[in-house]
Amino acid sequence: MDLSTETLLEMQRRMLRIRYFDERASKMVKRGHIPGTVHTSIGQEAQVVGACMALGDNDFMSGNHRSHGHPIGKGSPLGPLMAELVGKADGVCGGKGGSLHLADFNVGSLGESGIVGSSIPIATGAALSSKVLGNGKVALAFFGDGAANQGCLYESMNLAGAWGLPVVFLCENNQYALSTPAHTVTSGVIADRAAGFGMPGVRVEDGQDVLAVYEAVRAAVERARSGEGPSLVEVVTYRFNEHSEGLRLGVDYRDKDEKEAWLERDPIVIFRRWLAEHGHATEEQLDALDAEVRAEVDESVAFTDASPFPDPSRAFADLYTEPFGPTHAEHGPGPLIGAQK
């Protein structure tokens, strides 16, 4: 592969950013600093970053409830993302979205979705506008093995195939839809379903290998950009944490041996070793990179702490592009202020 050392280190940097951001977010959920819960991408960093790095800066992307990795992988700054998780005014969505609905249009992130599968048509539509406007942009839809059984995926694949849209359907197969093993609810192999739509379907068996993911997605992106239409890429990976942070199901739905075997295959450890072995960085340099990212996550928390909570009137903003409809004044200050802590 023709990747520069700089690009390779950027891959590691982005994987570390996801890891340390999500580790911090997990702690903040448990301490009540983040209201509600979050779904971490810990363990899936190679799958996320390999796909995001295969896209150009101006390309589009949509995601799902396992949401932080996607904008981070696409290059979004951490401060506004962390502030969004806490519901602060300087959050990337002004505190309106939260963990489940992150979006950073500055990096082509068109939004994560709390509804499984629901954002796949959005990425398909972004590819449609690229095609109609002829601007050469590609769109990528992230979705999980759970969403692979939603009808809107197949409506999207059919439309994209029929119209030759520049879109990549990226299935993050972490093998469990919450507690349900994918193989118990999925007929056949997800990647094989592409054949029915006349598009390539690729299965990356080792989704812990960032370069393997990158290679497969880059081929799909190049195909899309050159006007040859959509592709489906299925990446087999594993989430190291529970479905969501703080969730205690009281059932062991994942086999102990299986889990231990996957935990051994930490994508960040694997790639760090590869970078050192191939002479792209010394151990000291990799340690320094690690420390830089840890500091960046600390800064994102400081940024969050320094940001105020949004004014209650913001609950009525951004519904429409022009002012009409409910206003704070009409609803009266009583119940709103009463709800504030």
Binding site: F105, G125, S129
Partner: protein
């Protein structure tokens, strides 16, 4: 001015919008062949290769598969990234197939993402009620969408409004759902040939009056006018207001009319419970209670499904008779209902 049908006016607005802005595209089932008469040059052609396809090309006039969920979602995604789609969903009942996309993506994305997204997309659909199409094609679902903040809901009742409201819809940076009544397709009137935009949130006073306000929606508007004509002969002066857009709603026009007349009848072809009529009645009760000299009366389609047989269906929608009866109830001059003519259904 030129005489245009309701359907022809929609076609004219689509043509103007396509010519005015290259980002406008028309996407939907059967739009290439101009099956519904709104993608032809004259609004009448039924050529296999419609006029719009020749005028604007296959890149901007796109036949879709029958896949409402991705049609709606993809047009939302396209609107977020630079296009201004007009989506033809043909029958209004088909919107349910895409409910997740309407409610969770189209309506919420701008809000959830803190204003990063704009959603300049128009969803047109036709309500085939009153035409013996049975329960699956006869819905009037606009009140369901009034309940979803973030959407604009438009119900044109005349050719001139069908044209002007559609132009405003295409220029809106927010998602607009237009519900067209097939019963009005053939309605003809003088329509300005030049381009014009009818503003949202501004009701049209169809007929002035002083004894009662009739707020009428969609196909109930011409029926309310006929009722007002009949009532005038009986000495009752009825004002007929057409809100034209339900979101945003011209509350001021409705309230100030009721403050003058002291009485309100709302005629709405939607089902009674949580109808547009219910919302308008509630607003007037809140805002103009002291002006009311009689209880508000809603004339709606009763809460039953739409049957196929003309003998069963025809009686269900607000018509000149049921509207006039309702007016006589609120004016205290009740007349006997002529035998065999249905009035608003019992509660």
């Amino acid at each position: 001015m030129t005489v245009m049908s309701y359907l022809g006016a929609i076609g004219a607005a689509q043509r103007e919008a396509m010519q005015a802005d290259e980002r406008v595209v028309i996407i939907g089932e059967d739009v290439e062949a101009n099956v519904y008469g709104t993608t032809g040059g004259s609004g009448k052609s039924r050529a296999a290769s419609g006029d719009f396809l020749e005028m604007f090309g296959a890149n901007r006039i796109r036949n879709t598969p029958i896949s409402e969920e991705v049609i709606v979602g993809a047009c939302a995604g396209a609107a977020m990234t630079g296009l201004r789609p007009i989506v033809d969903l043909s029958y209004s009942s088909f919107l349910y197939m895409a409910m997740d996309q309407f409610v969770n993506q189209v309506a919420k994305n701008r809000y959830m993402f803190g204003g990063q997204a704009s959603m300049p997309v128009v969803f047109r659909s036709a309500m085939f009620y009153g035409l013996n199409t049975g329960a699956h094609h006869s819905d009037r679902p606009y009140p369901m969408f009034m309940n979803v903040p973030g959407l604009k809901v438009v119900v044109p009742a005349s050719p001139a409004d069908a044209k002007g409201l559609l132009r405003t819809a295409v220029d809106s940076d927010d998602p607009v759902l237009i519900f067209e009544a097939c019963m009005l397709w053939g309605t003809k009137e003088d329509v300005p040939e030049e381009e014009y935009h009818t503003p949202f949130g501004v009701a049209r006073t169809v007929r002035e009056g002083s004894d009662v306000t009739i707020v009428a929606i969609s196909s109930a508007v011409p029926e309310a006018v006929k009722a007002a004509d009949e009532l005038a002969e009986q000495g009752i002066s009825a004002e007929v207001l057409d809100p034209r857009t339900l979101v945003p709603l011209d509350v001021e026009a409705i309230v100030s009319s009721v403050q003058r007349t002291g009485r309100l009848v709302v005629a709405d072809p939607a089902h009674r419970t949580c109808s547009a009529a219910a919302e308008i009645s509630a607003i007037v009760a809140e805002e103009a209670f002291s002006s009311l000299t009689a209880p508000i009366v809603r004339v709606t389609t009763p809460d039953t499904q739409i049957p196929f047989s003309p003998a069963l269906e025809k009686q269900l929608y607000p018509n000149r008779y049921s509207i006039a009866d309702a007016v006589r109830r609120v004016t205290g001059e009740a007349f006997a209902t002529p035998a065999g003519i249905a009035t608003s259904a019992p509660r």
